[in-house]
Amino acid sequence: MTWETVIGLEIHSQLRTQSKIFSGASTAFGSKANTQACAVDLGFPGVLPVLNEEVVKMALRFGLSVNAAINKNSIFARKNYFYPDLPKGYQISQFEIPIVGQGAIEITLESGDLKTVGITRAHLEEDAGKSIHDLYDDYTAIDLNRAGTPLLEIVSDPDMSSAKEAVAYAKKIHALVQYIDICDGNMQEGSFRCDANVSVRKQGEGLGTRAELKNINSFKFLEKAINIEVERQIDILEEGGSVVQETRLYDSIKNETRSMRSKEEANDYRYFPDPDLLPVVISDELLEEIKKELPELPTEKKIRFIESLGLSPYDAEVLTSQKEVAEYFESIIKQGADAKLTANWVMGDLSAALNKSQIEIFDSPISAHELFVLISRITDNTISGKIAKDVFKLMWDGKGSADEIIDKQGLKQMTDSSAIESMIDDVIANNPAQVQQFKDGNSKVLGFFVGQVMKASQGKANPKQVNEILNAKLS
């Protein structure tokens, strides 16, 4: 039997404001427990929330970047439940009328095809504090520094049909929120969190019962969690059972999902409009202002890379998939380097080295300018592309700049044609059999000669010149 997977994601993206969504306390991460929570965050008697206008602007930036309908009058509601790290006994969120309505975003599938994923809504809410269960034997410790941190919850339509698509979508949103500078995207610190709603169905049938997967803090785990959950659901259904609607926790160590609470156990949140806050009214002027301030979005950038830099759609996609990568790439181009060559270097050697060392591009030991210099040495014929790879490795290891390394190691390309000619003469003289093969019409032997000459020159001979002279001498 063929099963179809249906996935929708809820992404909690922490907005990078200086202060909290409803109080003046700082949002900085990593401070001493409970030092960044004021009377409002602590839910003291009599305190009232006041909306931080910056979060509204950030939500609008997001809404406009996914072409969403903006609700000109959105409402904050209270989501009521008891938990020790929820000081007021309710979370201020948006329920019936979120600030951002239906929108969409395009993702690139592995096949290279494009797919549009709908965004149901995005709403503003405050984060809860943290319960720390393993600090004391008999007690749970509460840290309310995070309480009141602004979140934008981005809810997708159930448009993804595989774990890979879900990851592609999540990465796309991850890149976007960083492009428009509303979230730092740090998944380790919990600034960007994904919950996945997963269900399976037989082809052509209506939606199956879904499970909501929580506690996923990396793209890798997102893919694994969905795959393991899909397997679990198919197994149940194929054995004639039925899937229970519930929230399941992903355990990355055991690579399994396990039940957290069923629908019956789920809280009745008793939502109602928060009487302490006025409706959020968005004026046309504000929308226009935000529109003007929006930076070039990934899709726009991709089109520009294809159309004015002549990159392939694949290269353009890879280079725009992360804000910092695009910035790094563009910085090299702006200094005058060739676009295609630069793309190859960024996506090739640099990307491989970064991956190997698990370093983000903004921490790269080779700066954009340093890579520009290296690329320039290829285009000005100082070194060959092959030698450049060696230089790159040395640069990566901190052995100096491109020019220093070329100089010190004497890697400068040999462009003196008389010197190259004499090396070629030697090679021809020492390999009469191959010369005969070439003369008999086996043109492939040319590669052998090139290799011998390059070997003799320790890689420094200009390959183009070697080719030209060889061709002339042999024919």
Binding site: A39, G46, V47, L48, N80, G89, P275, L277
Partner: protein, 480 residues
């Protein structure tokens, strides 16, 4: 000295007839010898040092109009370093780390806080019998209730334990005790006074206001309490006039509406007589009297007793025994901590309203209760809007009866019914006032004045003009 009004005390301080310290000591002595249970906390030390500070300021010529005037503060306003209990066991141990905006404003005037007044727990009640700290006695008859929830404040002003008090009014909690204790109480338009630091009962209805001997004093205090506060998004960004400026204006030609629904079954005949007598007084001052109709006001009680419990069920969730306030002994686990802290920390009426609210907000009931109540609220507002197209002020009774015997009303619904004339004003966010208008036997009867949004000046003007012609507000209960 204690029969002087705030306006007279201001003059006395200015003329150095007495110092703030003398005044403060005088009131403190009276408070300490009173058995009315009007105060939860007497802040003697703080009061004396505030009074000394005020005297210094007066001497230096660095004083404002209210500098050195003592006041009693309802125990629902947060006061830094002073117990703020809201009349609840839940907050019996709670020392607020910050000042409410109202507290701050009165402090900035260098007023002197005598103490924190008794109240129904979390402002839920109409008799002050729901206080963890015991009921307050009505100074006119100690076997009677003072009304609620600002019963301690009303009794304190009536018994001249304080020249003025603060109150809060969610469904009549300033006006009804003012009426039952024979003082002047003003509930301003919703949004006139900041709610920041005022422990929330029902956020969309709660509004602070002054409780005084007369309208002139109310005007002086309102001027000090009112104004936009950036900490309260629901406070109005509207300038504050000097409310005393309009008191002497003529009310000749003022159009007064009498809602026919306020003079029907259930209204005590003595109360009705007093109210009608007052209306005649207004007529004699040149006012035009007209019958109006507020057809939806009969739905005010059910609508209020949905909206207010819904909001309170959520507002009171923060009292969970985790961070401050009452915590049960030896909780077994988290659930036990919640269950027992809240069961033991809250009184019966508070628990009843939390349960009603939680029920009305729950899935499947929200539309039928909360949404319906909000629609009724809209209809009530529209009734008032229509009425105010025809008249300038609406007048009627505050409460269907005079003060009743302590312990006599046992059924909560009967108690709710006593709020019939006051609730609709909160639901519509309008300003309302209670002024002394006469007596039934030895118990005072109040007259309610209801104005359109932001018509506090007119309300105070009409009240003051009445008080220029009558002396009901000058009566004070016999001293024991």
């Amino acid at each position: 000295m204690h029969n002087l009004t705030v306006a007279e005390l201001i003059k006395g301080l200015k003329n150095k007839d007495f110092s703030s310290l003398e005044l403060t000591q005088h009131y403190l002595t009276r408070i300490k010898s009173s058995e009315l249970n009007a105060f939860i906390s007497i802040t003697e030390d703080e009061a004396l040092s505030q009074a000394k500070e005020a005297d210094k300021k007066i001497k230096q010529g660095d004083s404002s109009i209210l500098t050195g005037i003592p006041y009693a503060h309802k125990d629902i306003f947060c006061t830094k370093g002073v117990k703020t209990s809201a009349g609840s066991k839940m907050l019996d141990s709670f020392i607020s780390p910050y000042d409410a905006t109202v507290t701050k404003k009165l402090n900035n005037e260098n007023m002197v806080m005598l103490g924190k007044t008794n109240m129904d727990e979390f402002a839920m009640g109409s008799s002050n019998e729901n206080s963890y700290f015991g009921p307050v006695q009505n100074p006119w008859d100690v076997s009677k209730v003072p009304g609620g929830s600002s019963g301690g404040s009303a009794a304190a002003v009536a018994a001249r334990l304080s020249p003025l008090a603060t109150g809060t009014d969610t469904g009549g909690s300033i006006r009804q005790p003012a009426s039952l204790c024979g003082i002047t109480g003003l509930k301003p338009t919703y949004g006139r006074i900041s709610r920041y630091g005022m422990i929330a009962y029902a956020s969309s209805l709660d509004q602070a206001g002054p409780m005084t001997q007369n309208a002139e004093d109310a005007a002086i205090i309102l001027t000090a309490m009112a104004g936009f506060d950036k900490h309260d998004s629901t406070s109005a960004n509207k300038s504050v006039p000097d409310y005393t400026q309009c008191l002497e204006d003529s009310i000749n030609g003022l159009k007064i509406g009498l809602p026919k629904e306020f003079f029907s079954e259930g209204l005590d005949s003595d109360v009705e007589k007093v109210v009608m007598q007052s209306i005649k007084e207004y007529e004699s001052m040149g006012a035009e009297i007209k019958e109006v109709s507020l057809p939806n006001s009969i739905h005010a009680i059910p609508a209020y007793y949905i909206v207010a419990p819904c909001e309170c069920s959520s507002n009171l969730s923060r009292f969970d025994g985790v961070r401050y306030g009452y915590r049960c002994e030896d909780p077994k686990d988290l659930n036990d901590l919640y269950l027992r802290s809240r069961s033991e920390g809250f009184g019966e009426e508070v628990k009843r309203r939390i349960m009603i609210g939680a029920y009305a907000l729950s899935a499947g009931y929200y539309d039928a209760y909360y949404l319906k109540a909000q629609k009724v609220r809209q209809l009530i507002s529209e009734d008032f809007k229509k009425a105010f197209n025809e008249v300038d002020l609406i007048m009627g009774p505050v409460s269907p009866s005079v003060a009743f015997k302590l312990g006599s009303v046992k059924d909560p619904v009967s108690m709710y019914l006593a709020d019939i004339y006051t609730l609709s004003v909160n639901l519509a966010g309008l300003p309302g006032m209670s002024i002394p208008a006469g007596f039934s036997g030895n118990l005072p009867v109040g007259l309610q004045l209801i104005g359109n949004h932001w018509s506090e000046e007119l309300l105070l003007n009409a009240a003051h003009q009445f008080q220029m012609r009558t002396d009901w507000h000058k009566h004070s209960p016999a001293e024991n």
